[in-house]
């Protein structure tokens, strides 16, 4: 696999913000003029551990290399993923959830760490709700104003394909490591959609970030992922209702929360 060093500008950003940066995302292209710029916050998490719950017993287990997975989430909103969001007050958490739901948001989960390390190209597709591929993802657009809606013609192409290819993966023990991934997001017409005047095209994203601390990163991802999944299904006009999506369970020594 390639071992490209981060660009000096990225290194400067990393120094300013340890593991979640806006300047670590480069965006190229748009969906036929409709921008998709999830470059406000970028977080990568390397899933190296799991927690089993067996008959009420909580048992942390380490994953072997083949089981390790990488998750990424990107948002046009600048939020602070460096705190455990559950510790925020209810009002602040509600505001954060709303901002995420109404942002350009991309959550990618289950990227095979080993395959990324080998430089493999991984692909996943959401074809008007039918999902397939090597990993899971959810993509949603920020709330659109009337002007933007007027330019959408017959709407968004509902077949979305995300291709991921790592340019660098470094688990970097004991310092946490980092990842540089190229993501191509393609919107196309789905079967059954009217021909012509659909918003289609490809947006290329390059993400270069250190891995977030695993437990903290996964706890906050448990908040983001359901919002993204809901917003992707609801579309830009309904995404605001996704702010209250329940978080995924998080397990600690006290049990499942």
């Amino acid at each position: 696999m390639s071992r490209r060093a981060p660009h000096p500008a990225v290194l400067a950003c990393l120094a300013a913000l340890p593991w979640a940066t806006s300047c670590a995302v480069a965006v190229d292209g748009s969906f036929a003029g409709l921008p998709f710029s999830p470059d406000g916050t970028a977080v990568a998490v390397l899933d190296e551990n799991d927690v089993l719950v067996r008959g009420g017993a909580v048992v942390p287990v380490g994953l072997n290399r083949a089981q390790k997975r990488v998750s990424l989430w990107l948002s046009s909103e600048r939020v602070d993923p460096g705190v455990d969001w559950r510790t925020l007050g209810g009002a602040r958490l509600a505001e954060l959830r709303t901002r995420l739901a109404l942002s350009d948001l991309l959550v990618v989960q289950g990227l095979d760490y080993d395959a990324l390390g080998d430089g493999d190209e991984l692909t996943a597709r959401d074809d008007a709700g039918r999902k397939s591929g090597d990993f899971a993802f959810a993509l949603s657009h920020r709330a659109l104003g009337d002007d933007a809606l007027a330019g959408l013609g017959n709407g968004l192409g509902a077949r979305v394909t995300v291709t991921a290819r790592a340019e660098r993966v470094d688990d970097g023990d004991p310092r946490g490591g980092s990842v540089r991934v190229a993501l191509d997001v393609e919107r196309e017409r789905a079967a059954g959609q009217p021909a012509g005047d659909l918003v289609t095209g490809t947006v290329s994203l390059t993400v270069d970030v250190p891995f977030a601390p695993e437990r903290l990163g996964e706890a906050n991802l448990a908040v983001v992922a359901p919002i993204a999944a809901c917003a992707a299904a609801a579309g830009p006009l309904g995404a605001g209702a996704c702010a209250d999506e329940p978080a995924l369970p998080v397990v600690d020594g006290g049990g499942v929360h």
């Binding site: 009420g56 942390p60 705190v83 601390p213 903290l216 020594g253």
Partner: protein, 263 residues
Amino acid sequence: MSPTRKPSLATLSVARARAALGVVAVVAVVTVGGSGCRFGEAAFSTSFDDVGFDPGGTVFATLDGRDQNLVEDGDPRVAVAMTWVVFDPAGDLSDLDGAALSSMAHEMAVRDALTLVFANQGEVDPGARFLVVREGGAIVQSGDGDDVLPGLDFRLHVAPERLDAGSTYAGIAPFGSRRTLEVTIDEATFGDTDPVVAGELTLTFDAIAGRDAGDAREGSISGAFRAPLVVEAVAEKNAALLAGAQGSDAVLALPLPPRGEPL
């Protein structure tokens, strides 16, 4: 004869400072307490070095007198609910604005709570002792001989660990999954005048060989509670409001599931 001291600027300043501190203290108590006075009491200590347990913000009891079809239960279950969150369980929380209610529901989920459920009101008398042993979701022992009654169950909600950048999976210290709860009732009145359920409890955590992690925590939580009785309809409505999006996994297990179903 006690010495007299002429008031000076310095002594006045001290007196004013003390008075001001008193005001600050009162304001602080009101702020922390939210409504200014807490409903019920509970205080617990733990044998764990780094884990406290504080569900003493609001403590109340309620009778599960009617099921979801309003069929009356002649010997209803008694629930004693304890949570860190401070609110008035006898008031109607639907009078609060949505943001306040949402914040309260959020805090409920991230703070300590404990609900005790006694199967029969008729057995909840002063001096009565109850015991239940749970392993995971299963009750493996209920009561102990003639002197210790069965008919007790509980829902424990330990506040989630607050994570930071230094939190690791290797640092997770699970509680032993065999949990033994012993409750002794000190006071139980269900009449019209100051109805209350009060008692003492010990909850013991033991590791199960072959099931729990090798470093599972063993120890106990013990303390006392005093839970004024709240009308069932009000208590259940408030608990349902606070459950928010958690639905049936509500922290307090209120409203109670039908008899025979796990908490």
